[in-house]
Symmetry: C2
Subunit: 438 residues, 2 copies
């Protein structure tokens, strides 16, 4: 077909921060845009831990992409999993929810597929230690945490009870720190007075970190503040500790001095390590792009694959000047890629300057009324950090209703410790329903 007749075709892979901010650039432009996402929804990943601990519902943090982009008439959303890219034929291969496959042609491709969980070569840990990447993960973890208290309540053997009341978390980045704090707040505030045989406050939360500091990316001063806040909450932080085994009995950890310790913990949760999805390898092989240690695609300063100015890689999957895998980088690089493509479509003569990340700060929630916030050299912690945390999260949550809903949920959780979303999935019954022969 003649290039002057048919609109320019842009395909965006992934509906996270990178893909969504890329897609938004094309509103009312002479472009047909296809946004492909395996879940068909935009997940507000930074609040996933609140869904896992009963503060927010899935609907408050995951919104259908087609609802967000309803008024972008030239955008079509496709719920499918991208399995490969053919750069010569300019085609993306994808699989629909029912397993059937389809191919989508593109003129420009923006890949923002994100990163998956890595178990550092020990995928067998996954069975015992679920990760924190998807809505499904959050609901699994919610069920595991609440069931552990139920189990402890019903057992009289103190050793068993202690094992069920021990929660081991791996990784002291924002997700691990926030999850650890929330489990302690759940135990000490939400569950207070609800049990007859155990005191939920006895719940031990162990947080293991391979590196020398919690929240290392926030700098030494805030790391120290975070360590203090965790200690106050009752979270036991173990630094320079490498996980050597996870199984049904608990977790084995190697300390800096080489000693191995086994912790009996019925609940082990994984918030450490990222790994590129298989798509990244397929894309690298097809284009000759290089990948870094965890499989991120190395890009040019324009966020494109070398030799392929029509293929952009943005967000967590992009390896560029050591930029961190945070929402803000994804938003800015996604938007940048979108603007670059728009320049081409609109025949702008001047080439856009290389991508430059503007650090607008990052925040991590520690406990009620306490958070850390860093913005360049400016660092807040405690109540001021928390106020900033609150405003940043409200500002970036998608949709007016979700903002109002989250504020109401937070008001209750922060003031009285209550959590509305404590529903868990029932055990799968036989065809005849609940009971069965003894």
């Amino acid at each position: 077909m003649d290039d002057h007749v048919r609109p320019h075709r842009v395909v965006v892979v992934g509906g996270g921060f990178g893909g969504l901010y890329a897609a938004r650039v094309f509103r009312r432009r002479p472009v047909t845009l296809t946004l492909i996402d395996s879940a068909g929804q935009h997940l507000f990943q930074p609040l996933l831990y609140q869904c896992a601990t009963g503060v927010l519902s899935e609907g408050q943090i995951a919104v259908p992409l087609r609802r967000i982009l309803k008024r972008h008439e030239n955008v079509e959303c496709l719920r499918a999993t991208v399995t490969g890219v053919d750069p010569a034929g300019r085609l993306v291969a994808a699989r629909r929810p029912d397993g059937s496959t389809l191919r989508i042609p593109y003129d420009h491709l923006i890949v923002s597929a994100g990163l998956g969980q890595s178990y550092f070569g020990h995928d067998e840990f996954a069975r015992f230690a679920p990760g924190m990447k998807t809505i499904g993960d959050a609901l699994t973890i919610r069920g595991k945490i609440l069931d552990a208290f139920e189990m402890a309540e019903s057992l009289s053997d103190p050793v068993q009870r202690r094992r069920w009341l021990t929660f081991a978390l791996v990784g002291a980045g924002p997700t691990g720190v926030e999850l650890a704090g929330q489990i302690r707040e759940l135990a000490t505030q939400t569950l207070r007075d609800e049990f007859r045989h155990i005191d939920p406050e006895d719940a031990r939360v162990l947080l293991f970190e391979g590196g020398p500091a919690a929240l290392a990316s926030f700098g030494p001063k805030l790391s120290a503040r975070a360590a203090l806040a965790l200690d106050k909450l009752g979270v036991e932080l173990y630094l320079r500790s490498l996980v050597t085994r996870v199984d049904e009995t608990g977790i084995e950890v190697k300390a800096a001095d080489g000693t191995l310790t086994h912790y009996a913990a019925a609940t082990v949760l994984w918030a450490a390590g990222v790994r590129a999805p298989g798509l990244a390898g397929a894309l690298a092989r097809a284009t000759g792009a290089e990948q870094d240690r965890v499989g991120r695609i190395k890009v040019t300063p324009r966020c494109t694959i070398p030799g392929h100015p029509e293929i952009f890689v943005v967000g967590d999957l992009m390896a560029l000047e050591g930029l961190p895998g945070v929402a803000e980088v994804a938003m800015q690089s996604g938007r940048y890629a979108g603007l670059c493509v728009r320049d081409v479509v609109e025949h702008r003569p001047r080439e856009r300057k290389p991508f430059r990340y503007r650090d607008l700060g990052s925040a991590a929630y520690l406990s009620r009324g306490r958070a850390v916030f860093s913005f360049g050299r400016i660092r807040f912690s405690g109540f001021v950090g928390w106020v900033v945390w609150l405003f940043v999260h409200i500002a970036f949550l998608t949709g007016f209703r979700n903002r109002v809903g989250a504020v109401l949920s937070w008001a209750v959780t922060f003031s009285r410790g209550g959590r509305r979303e404590r529903a868990t999935l029932e055990p799968v019954p036989g065809p005849a329903g609940e009971g069965e022969e003894p």
Copy 2:
């Protein structure tokens, strides 16, 4: 131990309306009560269809029993599945979430285990046609409904597209009727303007009913009103139609005149038929109790098992004078059983009169601003019925926050068709995350 020293032990099986209303009777009485529920939560079953269609979150309709009964100091809640009863030893056998078993002694036993889904001897249908009994069912159905629109959008073959846009529901009781109406409202209001290739309004919703009327329990006048309202909504109602087959292609139905018709439908949902859980059979064998056609336990006019005045069966599982399986019967019979046990504990000389159900009316939601309500000979439909529906449901929802939350959710859904809870589970990825080799 001496009976005068240790408190009277009451065990309640099931935390639905029957079990919860039984347990509530014992507050501050000299009794230790154990409430055993396989999910550990009270599910507001009458609104499960709203969770399945994205109006409400799971947390709004399912609340942990131990939170509801927090202030009932003599009640302990146990998350376990009851597998059998030993009436001679006065023991209940149960299984914890981790699979381990335990035995709980009782002096009085109140069984309110509810009914499961029945596929009328065709359990193979379950694979293609999920039922509507649990939170897990609701989330499965939510995903199936929303994915069907996604599939239709991405397919160009009109036959395939039509199949994905056809929803077949079995059973025109309140659940089937409400679910059918909600799917049409979702299609015509919520999803409006969100798709580029399909018009969600084209979604066909077929509702098959074996009997001669929809909402038969509401009487002929309201059945006719409901049929009219369904027609107005675009639901195709097929009466006197028996399902003969369900598979991946759709559903085969036998009409009253014996003709077989196959409907190509990618989504088949099951809201017909109940069956007692395996526990009912075990209980009947152990006590010599009789079961009716679907396995309900036949009880005396005092809701006890003949020859076992210490074992009560209440709620949906109770077979007594043809009382219907509605929440109101469960609440009243549960409370009645609790009061009978309290009489014994408090050594009241006068025996309580046999259980008598007071029909406080029943309501079913049809569409925005339309419901039917029957109370003895009084029958409302349309807007007045809807106002009554609204008040009844707000009054019986558990917890102040859930009432406020539901009212806010309804305000948005009823006024603008928006639904907040449209999050679905992601497809299960391989260990490396989203993509995979082509």
